[in-house]
Amino acid sequence: MSNMYLDNIIDLYKNPLNQGTLEAPSVTYRAYSPVCGDDITLDLIIRDGKISDVRHRGVGCAISQASISLLTEEIKNQSTDKVLRMKPDHVVKLLGIELGPVRLKCALLGLEAIHEAIGKYHSLAPLKGGIILRTSL
């Protein structure tokens, strides 16, 4: 057996971190993988260029669910700039498991969703800050 299904991965799958919805998110983003049907919806609250809170919901395999749990923990209170610089390697390191190219996609869906969500927020946010836009799917 490879070490893909370490107990911490299974634990996170069964007891995910930061799962749910936020009352008034700055941005909501849904990422979907047409290949496996993994489906992640993210709510982010962004204040002064920092991610002050985050929640996720949806369905996915143990790898994608563990990955989004760990990532949402990681990005809290971090600047969006820093989060945007986060690389795939970092996700693999967070998970601490070996992944082939096919399963790597599952692990990276969460990071992709976070990056897209921040991108969407920046494209929607007014140039002079202050107003928080609520966006739907």
Binding site: M1, Y5, Y13, K14, C36, G37, C61, I63, R103
Partner: protein, 411 residues
């Protein structure tokens, strides 16, 4: 009975260890394994008579053309087509459907018209029509299914009464549910109303005797790589009268009669639809796959798979964590079983099985509308072919135990 020892000897991949274990390949509905006879026949093209077809006049070119056309003739006979002019080589079943949509469809479908598909279609029989629909503005009607996952024939009969229906395009055997649709009756009923019929045989041709003299569809598509052949070669059967009237698909060499600066005239079918140098080795390899299947006999292939299907359904129904999607009895269906295992995501199940040398498919099987309709986000799927044995199914059941253990599934 199929001589399993002989079969195993023909598939070198089955002798190789997979993660240290004997390979259990249960994903033939995705792509089938390839016997050495097919590989050797393709090698022969490259090593003995590697030349272009229909243009090289030296002996190598004659031989290549002969073998390519012999493969076409084998396929014609295999599916019971009248003429080899009706057999067009494409890249795969997907390209075959796109060809029909972009030629026949473009010519015959317009605003106010409608076509009939079913909710169990593979993406390859949905998206080409949606692409054309954007341009031409016709309506697409999707047939619903019975609770058991079979086509609703009453609804079908009702729908085809509509005068605006120009085409029915349906899957012969579902790649998810395994359901076998009655292509002969579906075609007969449509023809009575003057409606053209396309049948997608990608999942049926590899596994049972298909006879177009009985089915009588206007178009019939399938692919090589699901029937022991190589990837990158597929077939479109088209009724000759229709092919004659259809405009070309792609333009280029071999599909023309004459080319002038002012315009060109087209070659006859099937060449009109085979522009450029085709997949010569692939077509010849597909011919060898047909030889291989005919040597065993399609009846035997089907009987073997039917036995495996019955065995697998019995074993799987006895496991409470397994939830089968589609008909649970073995009648009128192919050797394909979609299922879910407890609350474990199909990708995780497939990964843990894969680590034990057991190959199964997980995901939406390129049939997202069907899974949405069934309200299943994703599923597992096992599919059998002539090289599978009851032992493979036992290994699957055994392998699922490790999934249960890894995910601490409570009984």
């Amino acid at each position: 009975m199929i001589d399993q020892k002989k079969i195993k000897a023909d598939f070198p991949i089955l002798k190789k260890k997979n993660n240290g274990q004997r390979l259990v390949y249960l994903d033939s509905a995705n792509t089938s394994l390839t016997p050495r006879q097919v590989v050797e026949k393709m090698d022969e093209y490259y090593e003995v008579y590697n030349a272009n077809i229909h243009r090289a006049v030296y002996p190598l070119g004659e031989r290549a053309t002969f073998e390519y056309e012999a493969a076409r003739e084998k396929i014609r006979r295999f599916i019971g087509a009248k003429s080899s002019k009706e057999i067009i080589f494409t890249r795969n079943a997907t390209e075959s459907i796109n060809l029909v949509a972009q030629t026949w469809g473009r010519q015959h479908l317009g605003r106010g018209d409608a076509i009939v598909l079913s909710i169990m279609e593979h993406h390859s029989n949905i998206v080409p029509w949606q692409l054309l629909q954007k341009e031409k503005g016709f309506h697409i009607h999707y047939l619903s299914l019975s609770k058991e996952g079979r086509l609703n024939m009453e609804a079908y009969q009702r729908v085809i009464q509509n005068k605006n229906i120009k085409l029915v395009s349906l899957i012969h055997q579902s790649n998810v549910l395994g359901t076998l649709n009655d292509a002969k009756s579906l075609t007969e009923l449509a023809h009575k109303r003057g409606i053209a019929v396309l049948i997608d045989g990608a999942q049926s041709v590899p596994h049972r005797k298909v006879d177009l003299k009985k089915i009588k569809a206007d178009f019939f598509v399938f692919t090589g790589h699901k029937m022991l052949g190589p990837t990158g070669i597929g077939v479109l059967y088209g009724r000759e009268e229709l092919l004659q009237d259809m405009p070309p698909f792609l333009g280029g060499g071999d599909m023309i009669r004459s080319v002038g600066i002012e315009g060109s005239t087209w070659n006859d079918p099937p060449y009109k639809f085979e522009a450029g140098t085709p997949n010569i080795a692939g077509a010849i390899g597909l011919g060898a796959a047909v030889d291989y299947l005919e040597n065993i006999g399609m009846k035997k292939v089907q009987e073997h798979e039917q036995k495996l299907l019955e065995y697998a359904l019995k074993k799987m129904k006895a496991i409470p964590e397994i939830n089968i999607i589609g008909p649970e009895n073995a009648q009128n269906r192919g050797a394909v079983i979609a299922f879910n295992f407890a609350e474990v995501h199909p990708h995780d199940v497939a990964t843990i099985l894969g680590e034990q040398g057991i190959c199964v498919r997980a995901g939406n099987h390129c049939a997202q509308p069907l899974l949405d309709y069934l309200k299943v986000p994703a599923s597992l799927r096992v599919s059998f072919y002539l090289y599978n044995t009851e032992d493979d199914i036992d290994r699957l059941i055994e392998g699922l135990r490790l999934v249960k253990k890894t995910f601490h599934v409570e009984p």
